[in-house]
């Protein structure tokens, strides 16, 4: 529905004489004000007030009604939500009411020193006298109004329609409003409040219900569902199904009708830019670049290597030359000769020569077999170094015995190292063999192999997870785990309990008063005991399983294209399925309104759906007739044959049929039922009031300030507007 507020400042205030009443329809949703006798109110706006702070100046200002949200960006609206003067349908906040009246009169063009016109203002049915008093006071005191009249909006609407022949002088007015719904019987043109009936459900509740449902169904788009937007959606798409259950069944079966009835709201969405797969040229170009880079690196490495080789060779030649020179020099002069070069003795030169030769060989990249030979050679050379080992003890001197023991020790260690190496080699061979077997098995039957692996993986991962969970949470884990960590007291598992027991016995078992824990060495064995208890029995088994798990998962990652390793999620619920990442599509940004279209207005007929335990619209009609307690069958028939629907919430398509069916159910068979909708359910109340205010006898219905102060509150309680003039 379009934005129906209008609040241009009217400029013809002064043309109206001071007997022309001003008519105000003070509704919980909209506030309408205008001159009596006209067909349309001059100013209409939403009955809410906001008091935000202006961002630049910091002062708090008042904004009445709904405005263009673009202008509101200059104000800080975080702390000031829209506030209404109403609590249900009764005015209770008169400060806000004053702001609203200010705004209304201001836009009407008021510019005198007081409002000099009588005022007709609407109120709810059986308005509590306090609210009435305060309203009268406000009007008299602050605005200087000469006289005031109160009337019920539904009654005005009924009378207006009666005048236009839509309904008779006896009938029922059904008025679903913003926060409440009323059913008022009319007899001889006057409302009979004894038979009136009110349920606290209205358009506000329908919008709220729709908003909650959509927010729960589409939590990602929750920010989009503002109250105003949802109200627009409701007005555009909601309808009342003639029979809720059969309509719901249509949707449940997923029939084509249901598809047609589902409306779709597409949120603005921009698809992410699609990356084109690189073309052939791109690929070739990139490959060429990589090739060139690789070539360059290789060249650099080559250059480095050759320069190093050259360096080493130079060193070698230098040292050989030195050695040659040394041979020519005499023994005594060696130290002085060598002082220049930096070597101290011949052995040093020789050993560094050997080292340089080795590194040269390595730089030239000779095969490892030579190295192994070298090692073996060193081994065998070492064997020669244990000459004394094999000689029996009694033939050696004590020194030699000591020597022998040392050599024995060295031999056993080197033997041990060799054995270990052998074992490693054997294990490697074994593993190779196993892998080979595995590969063969895989190649001959890949599917089966994959399945087996997957099954094993699942079992193992479950076992591991369960053990972890037991360890962390004790035995209290059900499906809906609340992640909260370990509990206290009785929820500790066996190992932790044991630990606590040991600690407490250690702490309290000592002598009287003195804490001598730790004086003896054996005391600290306690901790060993505790940690042993805690770790040993669980960890080993766990390690094995975990190792195997890791192996299998790595294997699966290699060979299974669809495998995703289950990450360590800790003590939480196992997800039923690992969500696969997929790009967001257009459908994710669509909001579907299917069942909600008729589920939300259904609450007008069944308030139990939202937990309000009162009668729905159709039942209220029956209650109202019953409350009248007339024995006159004829009157009842007349009442039901002229049922008027008025009020903003009766605009749903399908409402009159549903209401008729509902009322037929509770009336005796064959009674005439006619349900009509008012000419303009929203504006009719104001129009009716305006026609009244224009009538000649209107001033008799008002009360002035004098009346109010003389007669007091009690009289005001009994004040009733007479609708037939």
């Amino acid at each position: 529905m379009p934005f129906i507020s209008q609040f241009h400042r009217q400029s013809d205030y002064n043309y109206f004489s001071s007997t022309t009443p001003i008519v105000i329809d003070n509704g919980a949703s909209y506030f309408r004000i205008g001159w009596a006798g006209e067909t349309d109110p001059r100013v209409i706006f939403r009955n809410i007030v906001q008091r935000p702070r202006h961002k630049a100046t910091g002062e708090t200002v008042t904004i009445v009604g709904d405005h263009d949200p673009a202008l509101l960006k200059y104000f800080d609206c975080t702390r000031s939500g829209p506030r209404s003067a109403f609590d249900s349908n009764v005015v209770y906040q008169f400060e806000i009411m004053e702001y609203i009246l200010d705004f209304g009169f201001d836009r009407l063009g008021a510019n005198g020193s007081q409002i000099d016109h009588p005022i007709l203002i609407t109120e709810c049915v059986c308005n509590p006298v306090q609210s009435r008093c305060k309203m009268a006071e406000l009007l008299f005191e602050t605005y200087g109004v000469p006289s005031v009249a109160f009337g019920v909006d539904a009654a005005f609407s009924y009378k207006y329609n009666q005048r236009h022949g839509i309904c008779d002088k006896d009938g029922l007015a059904i008025c679903p409003g913003f926060t409440t719904t009323h059913v008022i019987p009319f007899i001889d043109g006057e409302p009979v409040y004894k038979g009136c009936c009110r349920t606290n459900i209205g358009g506000f509740h329908v919008t709220d219900y729709l908003k909650q449902l959509l927010s729960l169904k589409y939590p990602h788009h929750m920010a989009r569902f503002t109250w105003e937007k949802v109200e627009d959606l409701k007005m555009e798409h909601c309808y009342i199904a003639p029979d809720y259950t059969s309509e719901a069944r249509l949707f449940q079966k997923g029939t084509k009708e249901a598809e047609d009835k589902t409306r779709c709201w597409q949120l603005p969405w921009v698809p992410p830019p699609v990356e084109e797969p690189p073309s052939e040229e791109e690929i070739a170009r990139k490959a060429a670049i990589k090739e060139r880079q690789g070539q360059r690196l290789r060249e650099m490495a080559e250059a480095k290597r050759s320069s190093r080789i050259n360096e080493l060779e130079n060193q070698l030649r230098g040292m050989e030359f030195l050695l040659q020179q040394l041979e020519q020099v005499e023994e005594a002069e060696i130290p002085s000769f060598l002082k220049d070069t930096g070597y101290v003795s011949k052995q040093e030169i020789e050993s560094s020569l050997v080292k340089v030769t080795l590194s040269l060989r390595k730089a030239k990249g000779e095969p490892k077999a030579e190295q192994a030979e070298v090692e073996e050679k060193s081994d065998s050379s070492m064997n020669e170094k244990y000459p004394l080992v094999n000689i029996p003890d009694n033939m050696l001197t004590p020194e030699q015995i000591k020597e022998k023991r040392r050599q024995l020790f060295l031999k056993t260690t080197s033997d041990g190292r060799q054995r270990a190496k052998q074992k490693r080699q054997e294990e490697e061979l074994e593993r190779e063999r196993k892998n080979q077997l595995d590969e063969e098995k895989r190649l001959e039957n890949p599917e089966l192999y994959l399945e087996q692996m997957r099954v094993k993986y699942k079992e193992l991962s479950e076992k591991v997870e369960q053990r972890k969970r037991l360890k962390a949470n004790g035995n209290h884990s059900n499906g809906n785990n609340v992640p909260g960590g370990v509990g206290r007291g009785e929820r500790l598992n066996a190992a932790q309990r044991e630990r606590m027991r040991l600690l407490t016995t250690a702490a309290f078992d000592r002598g009287k008063g003195e804490d001598t824990f730790g004086a003896k060495d054996e005391d600290w064995q306690l901790y060993k005991l505790m940690s042993k208890d805690n770790d040993d029995d669980d960890d080993e088994g766990l390690d094995e399983d975990e190792v195997e798990l890791a192996q299998i998962s790595s294997r699966l990652q290699e060979i299974d294209p669809a495998f995703v390793p289950k990450l360590d999620v800790g003590p939480s619920q196992p997800a039923p399925e690992i969500p696969r990442f997929r790009p967001l599509t257009k459908e994710d940004f669509q909001i579907l309104l299917g069942v909600e279209r008729f589920r939300c207005p259904e609450i007008l007929f069944h308030p139990n759906l939202v937990g309000i335990d009162q009668a729905g619209l159709d039942e209220m009609a029956g209650v109202s007739i019953r409350r009248l307690s007339t024995k006159d069958q004829d009157l009842e028939e007349r009442l039901t044959s002229s049922i008027l629907m008025t009020g903003g919430s009766c605009l749903y398509p399908g409402m009159s049929e549903r209401l008729e069916a509902g009322i037929r159910m509770i009336r005796p068979c064959g009674s005439p039922i006619k349900v009509v909708r008012a000419l303009d359910p929203i504006l009719d109340a104001w129009r009716g009031a305006s026609t009244y205010a224009a009538a000649l006898q209107f001033p008799q219905q008002t009360f002035s300030r004098m009346d109010y102060y003389e007669k007091g509150e009690d009289w005001l309680r009994r004040y009733q507007f007479c609708y037939t003039l």
Partner: protein, 124 residues
């Protein structure tokens, strides 16, 4: 104030000629405003409706009685007819697929669905 705000006349002017007493006089700044307004419940209590004859219609009298029709049971999640009821979460559901959804909801959503029906446990 920005020019477009002034042009749109968004803000209520503080001084209005037709008022006898302006807002800033009535509610001086700094004082707690509005906390003394009685809510509907308090207004109704203060009315003392029991002192007046019960025949006369008053605000409380005209309220509708609870519904006589059997309660309509619809699924909390989908809105279809729901003959089943989950004892753990107290939600109504229509079929086995919906049940799966119900059980996989986090607690916050469960409470919000229940609050729609006014069946949530409110701790005060």
């Amino acid at each position: 104030m920005e020019p477009e705000v002034i042009k749109a006349e968004l803000v209520l002017p503080t001084h209005l000629s037709f008022k006898r007493m302006q807002m800033y006089e009535k509610y001086p700044k700094g004082q707690a405003r509005g906390r003394h307004w009685k809510h509907l419940k308090q207004i109704l209590q203060a009315e003392n409706f029991q002192n007046y004859p019960p025949d006369e219609p008053n605000y409380v009298n005209i309220e509708s009685p609870p519904s006589m029709h059997p309660c309509k049971r619809i699924c909390d999640l989908t809105g279809f007819e729901a003959p089943y009821f989950d004892p753990r979460t107290n939600l109504r559901y229509a079929s086995a697929d919906v049940f799966k959804l119900v059980r996989s909801l986090p607690n916050e959503y469960v409470q919000r669905y229940l609050a729609l029906r006014n069946a949530a446990v409110v701790l005060k």
